[in-house]
Amino acid sequence: MITLVHVQILSAALFSIGLYGVLARRSAVLILLAIELMLNAVNVNLIGIAAFTDPNKYLGQIIAIFVITVAAAEVGLALAIILRLYRNKGTTNVDQLNLMKW
């Protein structure tokens, strides 16, 4: 049967894959998609803990609702920034977006 360990290992795997995506991709849109993966991994963990250990309070599910809300707001803003960057600099290659580098 499903135990909490299964759900948490799935969450850790999704988070690690998202982390690889954030660190190793060059396009800003791909980094954004990998960030969404990490947020979903966190949600899986929260909901798993709420399902297995939290009768009558469901704290994990409510926090997961807020995480989804913040993720939606963040995607909208991040895409606006990426579009603006693409308009100004002509590229979304994060290796070339180094205006704030020393």
């Binding site: 499903i2 799935l10 850790a12 660190l23 060059r26 969404e36 949600n43 469901y58 409510i62 290796d95």
Partner: protein, 164 residues
């Protein structure tokens, strides 16, 4: 037993979609792989008695976020990304991700997680009551956050008068 099989199927969708997001060469394919991964995660939510969250996941992620990303990709030229998809540091990134997964799995395996086998979940009525009474203030703050993000996105993404 069938629930374990269903969990593995949903987990396979989620992990397969995730590997597709970080591994594919085509940006539009990556957005579609993300959709597959998020639908797999919604399947996991259904198995965890989080039916409202599964609904919200499919609606918001599948129906709004991935659609917005696809719009942004299709209506601009963001999908024509020249150059390789991977950084020069992708081996170190793979090592870091694998190391993190190893450390966290060891921590999970040593924890008390295997003792929990019974799952419960709220009815939508209980969740709604909880959300709108005890969690009313964070709920309103989340609405203000969405408003601010919307206004910010419009202000950032439109062309100003000085740019034409």
């Amino acid at each position: 037993m069938t629930q374990l099989v269903l969990f593995y199927v949903a987990g396979a969708f989620a992990l397969g979609g995730a590997v597709g997001v970080v591994g594919t060469r085509n940006i539009v394919h990556a957005a579609l792989f993300l959709l597959v991964a998020l639908l797999g995660v919604a399947g996991v939510y259904l198995l965890l008695f989080a039916d409202f969250l599964a609904l919200v996941q499919v609606l918001l992620y599948g129906g709004a976020i991935v659609i917005v990303v696809l719009f942004a990709l299709m209506l601009t030229r963001l999908q024509d990304f020249s150059g390789t998809m991977e950084n020069k540091q992708w081996p170190i990134a793979a090592l870091a991700a694998a190391g993190l997964f190893l450390v966290v799995s060891v921590a999970i395996a040593r924890g008390r997680g295997a003792a929990f086998t019974e799952r419960t979940g709220p009815t939508m009525k209980q969740l709604g009551e909880n959300l709108f009474t005890f969690w009313a203030i964070p709920f309103e703050v989340a609405s203000v956050l969405l408003l601010v993000a919307l206004i910010g996105a419009i202000v950032i993404a439109r062309s100003g008068e000085g740019e034409r």
